[in-house]
């Protein structure tokens, strides 16, 4: 039984890393958002599983937030924004897919080596969760770095937050305060970003952040 619970938790966390990889090579906005929704669903399952094996009922709330808010509300909202803005074109990636994937593999290796080495005494489940979580955080960062489109940067940031939630739920008995705050920060972040997107749209007819780079403050 113990082996099985461990394997399931492992499977779910591992899938999250894989889905993060899938985000790296999506070149269409809709596809990227769909993959993000999948990411959120798997996160919800993973959190729910942690709630079950740790017997920590408050984690079900976190799982619920991940499922309803991140897997449904945000992707639907982003779909509508994209449609309204009429930008279902290809994503302009700043770096090619090949180098990005290689960088991703490097980052995952780095986080595994780092986290597994510094936590030899921790509970094995928490320890591997932490290694996976760091991988997801770094991959989320990579998505943000390689994309120039504002919407995909937002998606990258949210997948990064998913990694944080995974880490927080993996840490046994971490107070509820933090999980709710994470959820809230995402909510706030989303509102902020929404405001930004509309303003950017209002002013430049584009959500390509590259358009903002015209201004450097020093060169004009």
């Amino acid at each position: 039984m113990n082996g099985l619970t461990f394997d399931i938790a492992h499977l779910l966390a591992g899938s999250l890393v894989l889905i993060s990889f899938m985000m790296l090579y999506q070149d269409r906005l809709f596809a990227l958002i769909n993959v993000f929704a999948l990411h959120a669903v798997v996160l919800a399952l993973s959190v729910a599983w942690q709630a079950y094996i740790q017997d920590a009922h408050h984690l079900y709330i976190t799982a619920g937030i991940a499922l309803v808010f991140k897997a449904i509300v945000i992707p639907v909202g982003l779909h509508r924004i994209i449609q309204r803005l009429g930008i279902h074109r290809d994503i302009e990636t700043a770096v090619g897919i090949g180098p990005t994937m290689l960088a991703g593999i490097g980052l995952v290796t780095l986080s595994m080596v780092l986290m597994l080495r510094v936590t030899p005494e921790a509970d094995p489940l928490a320890r591997e969760d932490l290694a996976f979580a760091l991988s997801i955080i770094l991959l989320g960062l990579l998505v943000m770095v390689t994309r120039r489109n504002a919407v995909s940067q937002v998606v990258g940031f949210m997948s990064l937050e998913n990694g944080l939630v995974l880490a927080a739920t993996g840490a046994k008995g971490m107070p509820l305060v933090v999980e709710i705050s994470v959820a809230f920060s995402i909510l706030i972040a989303f509102i902020v970003i929404g405001v930004f997107l509309f303003r950017i749209r209002e002013r430049f007819d584009s959500v390509d952040v590259g358009a903002l780079d015209d201004y450097r403050g020093e060169r004009r």
């Binding site: 005494e121 921790a122 943000m144 880490a167 107070p175 902020v192 201004y215 403050g217």
Partner: protein
């Protein structure tokens, strides 16, 4: 936490929160500006009363100790003077039509929420709560930086938001790692996030995990401190937002993040086998100092110039705290206070200057001491102070940093002095153009609020001449706590 007729801690949190709610509801901009000033003044008084009233015992969420009182008083003081400056600055912005009345309602409410967030970060005893508070203060400043809705302001706010979020994400991961390190020793639950509990038991934590946690926390909160190479948001955010926000960003928000780093540094220092936080902080501090010093030469925008100067000074402060020891910590604390006062005074002057000249370009501003003596001389005194000339306060703190470095690691003093001199040259070079010579640009008389800037400068001047003995004793005591 009970049995108080007057709970100062509750007051410094409750006043800004209540003021934010009131300000969001008030339609009249003159009234909101006044309410903003009054609320900031009341918060300052509440903070000062911390010296007089009994301190509550550290609870699970809030703490008041000798370390954070310094930060709270500084924070509420600059918050108050900035609100006075903001009232006259904002009135001008409304006249010129850069901001509208609904903008102002939003701006004032956000100002108080930001003060709430910063005060909460200072008094929180819970590392999770501290994270939430820093995040809150950051988000409100992001919104205020973007308030002009121009192309440039949006780019600045977007950059600030993205980099700030990444920083805050790394800091949260570090916080989770600290919890993981504490959990086997302290046990599950809230107690494993309470700072005053953690510091007692830090010696038994897993040192490797704690070290990795600190690296994440330093990178995360370091982004907010504006340490190179994570500083990219800072010049844009300073240059494109309203100037009162530039003043609180430089004077206060950077200190909040620095305070968070210091709390975790103490934790790490209590665990003998963990990596020393010193070398990391010294390296990042020196890098920021030298990098920013060179960048000062290429600035053409007056607010960006002083934003880079903030990076430089945060570098010096982090360097001093990284060196550690009573003298360097004392110098770091003093430098932090002096920098907050001086830099916000400079931004007060710069705000009015940019308004009267109608530009932020350095090349288009000349001869300020002739056209606007009040502002011009404030700028001269401020820049002379920030460049580190005697007899002003920053000279003294920089001198202490340098001399304590010479005493302990002479070879580290070489890059330090080098960076200081480079920055000194850049600032004086720019100052001569700005302040002297044939006046250029708008000549209209200005209705400036001189009291905030000159009171800051007077304090900095007084501190350079004479520091009262009780103040020195207090700072020495706090420097001792910092180890």
């Amino acid at each position: 936490m009970s049995g108080f007729s007057f709970d100062a801690v509750a007051a410094i949190l409750f006043i800004p929160a209540a003021a934010a709610a009131i300000l969001a509801a008030l339609p009249n901009y003159r009234m909101t500006a006044i309410v903003n000033v009054i609320a900031s003044l009341l918060t300052l008084l509440a903070a000062l009363s911390l010296f007089a009233t009994d301190r509550p015992a550290p609870g699970q969420y809030l703490i008041v100790d000798d370390l954070n009182i310094v930060f709270i008083v500084l924070n509420t003081f600059v918050g108050f003077t900035t609100s006075v400056f903001s009232a006259s600055y904002i009135a001008h912005e409304l006249e010129t039509g850069r901001l509208t009345a609904p903008n102002l309602r939003f701006y004032h409410a956000m100002y108080q929420i930001m003060m709430f967030g910063m005060n909460l970060a200072f008094v929180s005893n819970n590392i999770g709560l501290m994270w939430v508070a820093v995040e809150l203060a950051t988000l409100t400043t992001v919104l205020m930086v973007g308030i002009y809705r121009t192309h440039e302001a949006l780019e600045a706010a977007w950059k600030y938001f993205i980099l700030g979020s990444v920083g805050i994400a790394l800091a949260l991961f570090g916080t989770i790692l600290v919890y993981m390190a504490a959990q086997p020793v302290v046990g599950e639950g809230t107690n494993a996030m309470v700072w005053s509990v953690l510091i007692e038991k830090a010696a038994h934590f897993d040192p490797a995990l704690l070290s990795v946690a600190f690296i994440f926390l330093l990178l995360g909160y370091g982004t907010k401190v504006g340490l190179a190479p994570l500083h990219a948001w800072l010049p844009d955010a300073h240059a494109e937002g309203p100037t009162p926000i530039s003043a609180v960003l430089s004077g206060l928000l950077l200190n909040v993040a620095l305070y968070a780093v210091l709390r975790f540094k103490l934790l790490l220092a209590a665990s003998p086998q963990a990596i020393g936080p010193g070398p990391l902080m010294v390296t990042m501090g020196l890098t920021s100092l030298i990098f920013a010093a060179f960048m000062l030469y290429r600035r053409r925008d007056i607010k960006r110039l002083f934003a880079y100067s903030s990076i430089e000074h945060m570098g010096i402060i982090v360097f001093a705290f990284g060196m550690g020891g009573p003298l360097a910590n004392f110098a770091g604390l003093l430098h932090m206070v002096m920098h907050s006062l001086t830099k916000s005074a400079i931004f007060f002057a710069v705000g009015h200057i940019a308004q009267v000249k109608g530009t932020q370009k350095i090349s288009e501003i000349r001869g300020l001491t002739e056209s606007h003596p009040g502002l011009g001389w404030a700028l001269v005194i401020g820049v002379v102070a920030i460049a580190g000339l005697p007899p002003l306060g920053i000279f003294m703190s920089e001198f202490l940093v340098v001399s304590s470095t010479f005493a302990r690691h002479p070879w580290l003093a070489i890059p330090l002095v080098f960076g200081l001199l480079i920055a000194f040259g850049a600032l004086l070079l720019r100052l001569t153009g700005l302040a002297f010579g044939e006046p250029r640009g708008g000549m209209a008389p200005v209705e400036a609020s001189y009291v905030p800037m000159y009171s800051h400068l007077a304090l900095v001047f007084a501190a350079g001449i004479y520091l009262p003995a009780p103040l020195v004793a207090w700072f020495q005591h706090v420097a001792g706590i910092l180890g």
